[in-house]
């Protein structure tokens, strides 16, 4: 079914989209990276292509154009679409080597403020799979005990459903009550000051450099609150950073 849906989606793109892609690739190889970026962007805006390879190509074009911040932004976007897209990961690593600090992204747990669920290691999907597995074990154990007509391991046959119930409860709670993961943002300017409050009259707490990746947890008007590696946080102007948002790219 998935293959059928993908095939239908692919075949539904007009021939014009193929032409635009060819023009973009030609412009890229001709060194006209601005035109290549414009054409790639058309694929996204006009034809709704939101694939990791497209963002990867845009990252390469920005990189060749000399805009390191936007290149990193689009590589991150490619990875946001497909976290296992290795070409984007490799080019991202190469681009990060050229940033001032190669700043790591802080862990999501540094931003999320839930209690227990913050430390719960299993994702909802893993929790559901684990529940199925424990129930399967319980069924097997019951079958063995029934056919062999033994009363041994009775405690285990009672414990396994309880474990399954706990796993299932946590999976449901994690699925419905946990916050979505914090979004990443990439610094686009050479130097971006980060302030203690939403006022540029303050003296900056620290500076972000082009290509630095941060997590954001709040958006207020023209400001966003950023968290950087090392635990520092503060407010930066939105126009200095680009948010890596799959839906909003």
């Amino acid at each position: 079914m998935t293959v059928l849906i993908l095939a239908l989606a692919f075949s539904s793109l007009p021939h014009e989209a193929h032409t635009v892609l060819e023009e973009a690739n030609t412009a890229y190889y001709a060194g006209d990276y601005a035109l290549a970026i414009e054409q790639y962007d058309q694929l996204r805006t006009r034809f709704g292509v939101n694939s990791a390879p497209l963002f990867f190509n845009m990252g390469n074009a920005w990189r060749r154009k000399g805009d390191l911040g936007r290149a990193i932004y689009y590589y991150e976007a490619a990875l946001a679409v497909d976290g296992r897209y290795d070409p984007a990961r490799r080019n991202l690593q190469t681009a990060l080597q050229e940033t001032q600090r190669n700043l790591p992204v802080p862990p999501a747990t540094a931003v999320q403020e839930q209690g227990f669920l913050r430390h719960y290691p299993l994702s909802p999907w893993q929790g559901v799979l684990a529940t199925h597995f424990v129930l399967l074990l319980a069924s097997l154990l019951f079958g063995i005990r029934y056919w062999r007509e033994t009363t041994r391991l009775k405690w285990l046959s009672r414990l396994l459903p309880v474990v399954a119930l706990l796993l299932f409860s946590f999976a449901v709670a994690d699925n419905y009550f946990s916050e979505p993961p914090p979004k990443r943002a990439v610094t686009l300017q050479d130097e971006t000051p980060v302030f203690f409050s939403m006022s540029e009259l303050d003296s900056p707490r620290f500076l972000l450099y082009e290509g630095d990746r941060v997590l954001i947890d709040r958006l207020e008007g023209d400001w966003m609150r950023v968290h950087v590696h090392g635990g520092e946080r503060g407010w930066a102007r939105r126009d200095n950073l680009a948010v890596v948002d799959f839906a909003g790219i």
Binding site: F10, N50, N57, N60, D82, R90, T94, A138
Partner: protein, 590 residues
């Protein structure tokens, strides 16, 4: 009377002397020094306004002075409302004398509070030799302090071309006898080298005979590259150190000394003009080597092409050699690495290119050329690397690099992505237009609650198997479980039987026997009534059951056949009674 007069005269003389010397005094750190040994002259003055001491007479006396250290203190006293400020200043001059004999330090003039005062002159004995420790009887030669430790500075060339390497050697000699040691500055100062670019520096230690005595020699070597033509000077090597030795009484002796060499004059010749094109400024002697790091080349597969330029010269002046025209290959920008040989002016500079073959077949990398100026032959020389023949295998997958078509220039552009480690763009429309399904963090309802289905199946299986086992093992349960269905079948069969009353009787008693787990054989209506009464069956239902059984008994014992209507009515009554009994007894049993 005469004695009193003498005392008064002496007191007046002392007072006059004291008035002349006043608040100014001088002291020396040693009264007996060796030639060129550093000692200190300290001058102290007290007063409100104190001028600098006039040391010209001391210098005129042949005493060499160095920059003094200076110390001052101020005291403020208030007596009877009047405040007096008193200053005390001390100058400490390092001094040395280069002539043997008794030397008098003349009086030194200092102006205090507008009046000139003089220090007392002092005499110092300057000896040429130093008193050394136990010496062998045949060693009677005199040793001066300069014999204990001295320095030398020299260069390997006095005339060089601009950019030609020059080796400056600074040697420090310390006598390898009498436990002579030398205290040097923590960071050894180097001579001024204006007009030179400094290169590698290294240090060696060895032993050497000099003037019949063995010395420990520490040699500092500094490579210099002239950056401008003309007469240049390597400045004097000058620093202060302390010489230590043991005298004949085995007492440790220390003498401060200023070590100094003469400046070295260097003539720098300009390079001949006109300079050939491709000359990068390298001056010296160089060789070129070129190697491929792979024997078998494949079309489109990059390999390393390494060029090494080695020789004597300024590594900063060695630029990347010009690569010959090779349309069959693409070269990346080189990675450059410089290696300086330890304790030598030899240098190696490596240029590593990424070579990507664009065409298959037999090809050749022509000799790499490097142009430099040779001071030995006084002309510009071109060094050649070896020519490298290569055989390039065609690529197995022709759609990666080389099957693009177009000119070699376009092919170069296609593969330039390897220059900076950037992976190439994706051109395949099927890949670019693929629909990326980002897995959401939240699961759908069906996925989320799928374990409930599994759990329900598990519970159903457990109950089914347990029920099945009970049916096999619990006879009463099994009879009760099947009682109604068995009875209904028997009732259905009874209506079609020849003697329906007998079948109805047996069906009803059988049902009651199964439900109450008793033997139904031979049950009479009165026994059934007793059993139902014991099972607390209500009176009304009990009487219906008993009446039905008695009706069947009467029909059976009367010896006449039962009409079909009677049999149907009886069957219907029994069926109702069975239904009610089943409900009732099932409740009671559960």
């Amino acid at each position: 009377m005469r004695c009193g007069t003498l005392i008064i005269i002496c007191a007046a003389f002392v007072a006059a002397v004291a008035q002349a010397q006043g608040p100014v005094s001088m002291d020396v750190s040693a009264r007996r020094v060796s030639m060129n040994e550093v000692f200190h002259i300290s001058i102290t003055a007290n007063g409100s306004e104190i001028s600098e001491p006039d040391m010209q007479d001391v210098i005129d006396a042949g005493i060499r002075l160095d920059t003094p250290s200076h110390r001052s203190s101020t005291s403020i006293q208030t007596i009877g409302g009047e405040t007096a400020v008193t200053q005390s200043r001390t100058w400490r001059y390092p001094a040395s004398i280069s002539q043997e004999g008794m030397v008098t330090i003349p009086r030194i003039s200092v102006t205090v509070d507008g009046q000139e005062y003089f220090t007392q002159p002092k005499e110092i004995e300057v000896t040429r030799t130093v008193d050394m420790g136990a010496r062998p009887p045949d060693d009677t030669a005199e040793l001066t302090i300069e014999d204990l430790a001295f320095i030398r500075a020299a260069t390997d060339k006095r005339v060089v071309y601009n950019g030609e390497p020059l080796l400056l050697r600074l040697r420090l000699y310390v006598l390898d006898q009498f436990y002579v040691s030398l205290e040097t500055p923590r960071r050894m100062p180097m001579p001024e080298t204006h007009g030179f670019q400094t290169g590698q520096q290294w240090q060696e230690s060895y032993s050497e005979m000099y003037a019949g005595r063995r010395y420990r020699v520490t040699e500092l070597s500094q490579v210099l590259y002239p950056t401008t033509s003309g007469d240049l000077t390597v400045g004097a090597w000058e620093w202060q150190g302390g010489v230590r030795w043991f005298n004949s009484r085995r007492q440790p002796q220390t003498a401060a000394r200023v070590f100094e060499t003469n400046p070295v004059q260097i003539t720098v010749l300009p390079l001949p003009t006109p300079r050939p094109s491709g000359f990068s400024g390298a001056v010296g002697r160089f060789d070129v080597d070129a190697r491929l790091n792979a024997e078998h080349l494949t079309q489109g597969a990059p390999v390393r092409f390494n060029i090494t330029i080695s020789g004597e010269g300024n590594p900063n002046a060695i630029s990347a050699p010009s690569l010959p025209e090779m349309p069959w290959a693409h070269f990346s920008d080189p990675e450059v690495e410089t290696q300086q040989q330890q304790n030598s002016t030899e240098v190696q500079k490596h240029f590593s290119y990424l070579l990507t073959p664009l065409r298959a077949g037999l090809q050749e990398i022509p000799p790499v050329q490097f142009l430099y100026f040779s001071p030995e032959s006084k002309e510009y020389v071109t060094a050649y690397g070896p020519a490298i023949p290569v055989e390039i295998q065609p690529a197995s997958d022709s759609d990666t690099f080389v099957a693009i078509g177009g000119s070699a220039e376009e092919q170069r552009r296609r593969i330039e992505v390897y220059d900076d480690g950037l992976l190439p763009i994706i051109t395949d429309p099927q890949v670019v237009f693929s629909v990326s399904t980002r897995p959401g963090r939240r699961l759908g309802f069906l996925t989320m609650f799928s374990p409930v289905v599994t759990l329900a199946l598990l519970i159903a299986t457990v109950f089914t198997l347990k029920h099945r086992r009970r049916l096999l093992r619990d006879t009463g349960y099994a009879r009760r479980y099947y009682a109604k269905s068995t009875c209904i079948k028997r009732l259905d069969a009874a209506t079609a039987a020849e003697d329906p009353t007998d079948s109805l009787y047996r069906a009803l008693t059988g049902f009651i026997g199964d439900m109450l787990n008793i033997n139904e054989a031979g049950l009479t209506s009165s026994e059934v009534e007793a059993v139902l009464s014991e099972a607390q069956v209500p009176e009304a239902l009990r009487s219906v059951v008993v009446r039905s059984l008695k009706a069947c008994e009467r029909a059976r014992y009367a010896g006449r056949g039962t009409s079909k209507e009677e049999a149907t009515a009886l069957c219907s009554a029994v069926r109702d009674a069975v239904e009610q009994l089943h409900e009732l007894l099932r409740e009671k049993q559960s």
